[in-house]
């Protein structure tokens, strides 16, 4: 018993919700541009390894959407020293789980493993990164799997399909207008040569951030990364596609006629993301405003529109300050059989404009901030979430060392700041509105 408690308490990370909830980050940069970030947590003998790439949907060219995500599949199809499927089999044999995810801004590969296996996994990751096979036959099979993935996630899901279309209508230039999974038309035309060219251009050490969180020692991991990812040949990193989205010149609307059961109405508009030291108040105020509108049990949209006015049966809103260039702020309502899109749309804007004109109450503002900070504490309970936050902030160019600064910015947001960002950014004039309209059969 004594020994057990030693295990759990000796490495107690001391923080309270008042102080920053984050453990110390250790960082190492290698001559070829690869970076390592480690957060030690010795509370259980497990670790998560995540290999982040500053490569995603935004790095594709027109006609070849979906290419970045193809790697999420092909990376498991073999390399010089690992047969097809062997990577996952070896991870499974050590009791681990592995997978990957892709966004517009990044691609990440991860393994949750016993901590003793971290060295072996980092060597395997570097090997497939450097020597991917990319065989034509494997690609031919895998692109079919990807098409099934698109059918499942998007084509056969009316809500997803509507949001895909809405993003495309809302944006003129920014790559968030293209779906990460790719348009089906493009998926049917992609060739193995496209995949090989993308690999050669983008899978280079300067795009890599290795993140390890768990029961490891930074000095050990640094040595391992130095002789794996750190040894890869240096290659030139090109600037990423990040155009300035033109300011909307008026409201836009679209309708998606799909085989849905019930209608949905969503609004979206480009808003600024966080640039540390440059727009702290603005980005934090957008986040706080969104939390007041859609976070917690007392979320304003829900209370006003679902509980009081009965114009929808569910509402939501979202803002991601850790995107690249812009974020697409959104709000939507799910409508019941007797609820109308017009009724919801009016209620949505009236609720947002009421908050804009009157500002949040003192208690409302304090409550939102406390929840946002508490959520950061709760997130520390998951190794996966911790590693993901670090990798994401690195990959979009904010920097994982800015986590404390973000919480500081949230604490400083005033009621006036909330009013100001709503007035400037969340307006009818800037919005693209999408309506999911159930198809009617005659």
């Amino acid at each position: 018993m004594r020994r057990y408690f030693l295990f759990f308490t000796l490495f107690f990370i001391s923080f309270s919700a008042q102080a920053a909830p984050f453990a110390k980050l250790h960082q190492a940069d290698f001559a070829n541009g690869a970076r390592l970030i480690v957060e030690e947590d010795h509370s259980a003998p497990v670790a998560i390894v995540q290999i982040w790439l500053k490569i995603g949907g935004r790095d594709e060219v027109p006609g070849k959407t979906g290419l970045a995500h193809v790697f999420e599949h092909m990376m498991f199809k073999g390399s010089k020293h690992l047969a097809a499927g062997e990577f996952s089999h070896r991870i499974a044999a050590m009791g681990g789980n592995d997978n990957a995810f892709t966004s517009h801004d990044y691609t990440a590969y991860f393994e949750i493993i016993p901590a003793a296996k971290v060295d072996e996994v980092l060597a395997m990751e570097a090997e497939r990164f450097a020597n991917l096979s990319l065989r034509k036959n494997d690609f031919a099979k895998e692109i079919r799997v990807i098409q099934e993935e698109r059918r499942m996630r998007t084509d056969d899901d009316p809500n997803s399909r509507m949001f895909e279309e809405l993003s495309s209508v809302a944006l003129r230039l920014h790559p968030y207008r293209e779906p990460v999974i790719g348009w089906m038309q493009d998926l049917k035309k992609l060739k193995i040569d496209d995949v090989r060219a993308f690999y050669k251009a983008h899978y280079i050490p300067g795009n890599v951030t290795v993140v390890v969180v768990g029961d490891v020692d930074f000095a050990d991991v640094k040595k391992t990364v130095a002789r794996t990812f750190g040894k890869l040949k240096k290659r030139v990193v090109t600037a990423r596609f990040n155009p300035v989205e033109p300011e909307p010149i008026g409201p836009k609307r679209m309708q998606a006629m799909l085989p849905a059961q019930l209608p949905m109405l969503a609004v979206t508009m480009p808003v600024p993301v966080w640039h540390p030291g440059k727009n702290d108040t603005q980005a934090a105020a957008l986040a706080v405003a969104t939390e007041i509108l859609a976070g917690g049990r007392a979320a304003v949209l829900n209370r006003e529109i679902v509980d009081r006015q009965r114009k929808a049966f569910a509402t939501a809103a979202g803002y991601d300050p850790f995107s690249m260039g812009i974020d697409l702020w959104y709000a939507y309502g799910m409508l019941g059989p007797k609820q109308t899109t017009a009724g919801f749309e009016n209620a949505l804007w009236a609720t947002i404009e009421h908050l804009r004109d009157n500002g949040p109450k003192v208690a409302q503002l304090a409550s939102a901030k406390r929840r946002m900070i508490a959520d950061e504490v709760f997130a520390q309970d998951s190794l996966y979430m911790r590693a993901k936050q670090i990798g994401m902030m690195e990959s979009v160019g904010i920097g994982a060392d800015k986590r404390d600064a973000w919480l500081a910015a949230i604490r400083k947001v005033s009621a006036k700041d909330v009013q100001k960002v709503l007035a400037r950014w969340i307006t009818r004039q800037r919005a693209t509105t999408g309506i999911l309209q159930p198809e009617t059969h005659s």
């Binding site: 759990f8 099979k141 079919r144 799997v145 059918r151 056969d156 019941g336 504490v377 309970d381």
Partner: protein, 438 residues
Amino acid sequence: MKCMLKLTAALFLYTFITPAAQAIPVIEQAQLANGLRVLLMQAHNVPMVSMRLTVPAGSRLDAPEKGGTASLLASMLTDHTAKQDYVAWADMLDAQAIRLGSGASRDSLSLSLTVLKEALGEGVDAFSEAALNPGWSKKRFALLRRDAVSSAQKSLEEPGVRAAEETAAVLYPAHGYGHRSGGSVASLSRIKLRDLQMLYARQFKPQGAVLAVSGDVTMKELLALIRPRFAGWKGAPEVTLKATPEPETTTPKNKHISMPTRQMTVQLSRLGPSRYDKAFFANMLLNHILGGGGFSSKLMGEVREQRGLAYGVYSYFIPLAVSGPFVISLQTRADQAGEALAVVQNVMRDMYAGKITKVDLDAAKANLTGGFAHRLDSNGKRVGLMSMIGFYGMPLDYLAVWGERINAVTLAEVKAEAKRFLAPKEWHIIEAGPIKGE
């Protein structure tokens, strides 16, 4: 109302379960005089506490034609209380960053709490108020029910929901497991507030209930908070978990649900093992090899890796108080559904015929035992495991011997379970998607 406690000594302290020597966290146990069992795993690395109260008021007790009763009761309990209307209640929870949740599954209804250590007292206050002082507002009930009906209608857009609904119906035509816990448009519409009150009055009792807790708290601190708040709660449920009737095996059926989708969802099902099955660990390994082990499973290998027929194909069984569902599911472009089904049935037939190797078994054992620490690496996961252990009456050394049990399973035992479960002709087949030729 004196709350004497039997503080049982922790049963397993520091054990080695695999050659890799993993520490098993201690489960501390206490029992309040009213019968409520309290299980705790301390973890002081994050200043937070998670807990879950589980009572035998699951959806299997929903009256016939009133599926969704337990689920609506769960929503009502966290929506408001006898002391606070929904507005004051939500404002109070939000201000303290108290995350309160609830839900119903087939066997149980649960309330859950996640809270900062610094707000633990307020959190336990709210948690006990939600559990023990229901508000029964008629107006809120009407509203929650209407929104649940809309939500149920919206969910009919999902082929997985349609297939799950039909699977439950064919597996359990005369049993409380025969509907989805959330209910359907028709069944939710029939539920009255009185149905919720009756379920609560009969089943929401401390005896047979379990409070599982994980986080930055000691048993002493925890009991000091729990005892005064839960002491007045008394009684035993009318229907215990043990009284759950065993379902009868039904004749396998093939059904097609017409949906305007591009893919066909193909779902095979049969009755599977219960939580108390003598061969439980052999079943776990069998399922892992079949389709539970992700990319290392046979189904994933044959359907996706070899043929590119599906993005996802998997199998699982839900171990309940009695035989739960054993399910195999995949989605594929509608014109490939027949081919994909044939591949699945071939895999089943081969395993049924004994084509399972020592290599397959050893790989499954290695993955399951090696991943054990990961099953326990967050407060949420620990609370989930302890709730299961406590609610189903598993021995407190369940986690300590888990790895040994897995490793003790022989190839012959797994083959015997394959013979027991994997004859393709014994499985129902539900398909949701376009009608052929459409």
